[in-house]
């Protein structure tokens, strides 16, 4: 289902967080050209766009920090 793109494991195993990271990689890759940073006040501003360069840098940092501690994301307490 295109709703949940499959991660095709051609060989070996992958980290559990791979598919979430893949979603972020692709979704946030749309229109990578970033014109400056953000205008977020909606009143009077037609197009609101959040500066993804800022976001991506911080996400990268966050992920790197996470990896430093533990390669896997913490599992939610309950099962689905």
């Amino acid at each position: 289902m295109p709703n949940n793109p499959e991660t095709v494991q051609l060989a070996g195993t992958s980290q559990e967080d791979a598919s979430l990271l893949d979603i972020l990689d692709h979704v946030l890759n749309a229109g990578v050209v970033v014109q400056g940073s953000v205008v977020i006040s909606v009143a009077g501003v037609d197009l609101v766009y959040v500066g993804l360069n800022v976001v991506l840098t911080s996400v990268e940092t966050a992920l790197r920090n996470l990896r430093g501690e533990d390669l896997r994301p913490k599992k939610a307490s309950g099962n689905e």
Partner: protein, 250 residues
């Protein structure tokens, strides 16, 4: 909240499709805010897929949370669910994550102004899907210097040496795969802004692949999987809506 002349709900844009094409009667996905369902709005020959959002509450939340990984993950996934559902039915140009218009008039004005650019992108992405490919090292290269560093300087020198011998760009076999995939695909783009920091990653790219080439694509990948067994691991993800190939529409 005080009403101004322009204070209806804001419109969060997921993507634009063509009105001539078949379109999903109804989307099942929740909207990006988890409250307002996505719906189509016709604008000339285009269909804009939008959700109402509270221009104050939601836009403010976006700004506050764009560095909050949990929030970003949840909302990116919702965005993908909607775009993915539309893409399953018709060609859609995905909007950038977090694109909000102050209202229908503003949205339509923007879409009309980009009419010819949108038309070109529709041609480019018709009958094509986005795929991500990653190659990981399976075996760690033997370390040249394994003795413990006796000083900080020595430690850094050893570390630099290890980084230098990391395979990657000059791995000719990886380059061969990249060339083959590029030949099959209509376009390729760099990727991995979020996931790219993994140390065992040798190479990754995103491709726009015609559905008609899918068989050759799979065959090529399988061939390399076999050849690289034990040395390199290939991971493929997709099909995605063509997120990485629509920046011309801006």
């Amino acid at each position: 909240m005080k009403a101004t002349s322009n204070s209806g709900p804001g419109l969060y844009l997921y993507g634009v499709s063509r009105s001539a094409a078949a379109r999903p009667a109804r989307l099942r996905s929740a909207g990006v805010d988890g409250v307002h369902p996505p719906h189509p709005r016709a604008c000339d020959e285009f269909v804009c897929w939008v959700s109402d959002v509270d221009p104050h509450g939601f836009a403010a939340a976006m700004q506050r949370n764009m560095e909050n990984l949990d929030w970003l993950a949840l909302h990116s996934v919702r965005h993908q669910q909607v775009v993915g559902e539309i893409a399953a039915k018709t060609t859609v140009i995905p909007a950038r994550f977090a694109t909000v218009f102050s209202g229908e008039a503003a949205l339509f004005k923007n879409v009309r102004a980009r009419k010819s650019a949108l038309g070109k992108v529709f041609l480019k992405i018709a009958n094509a899907e986005e795929w991500g490919v990653k190659v990981f090292a399976e075996a760690r290269p033997a370390r040249a210097a394994t003795r413990a560093a006796s000083s900080g300087k020595q430690y850094l020198q050893q570390k630099a040496a290890r980084l230098k011998q990391r395979p990657g760009r000059n791995d000719t076999q990886v380059a061969e795969l990249a060339t083959k995939l590029e030949r099959l695909a209509q376009a390729s783009a760099p990727t991995g802004k979020v996931s790219g920091a993994r140390p065992d990653l040798l190479w990754q790219a995103t491709f726009l692949l015609s559905r008609a080439r899918r068989k050759q694509w799979d065959q090529t990948l399988k061939q390399f999987v076999k050849r690289w067994e034990g040395a390199r691991r290939i991971e493929v993800n997709g099909p995605w809506p063509p997120y990485s190939f629509v920046s011309d529409a801006e």
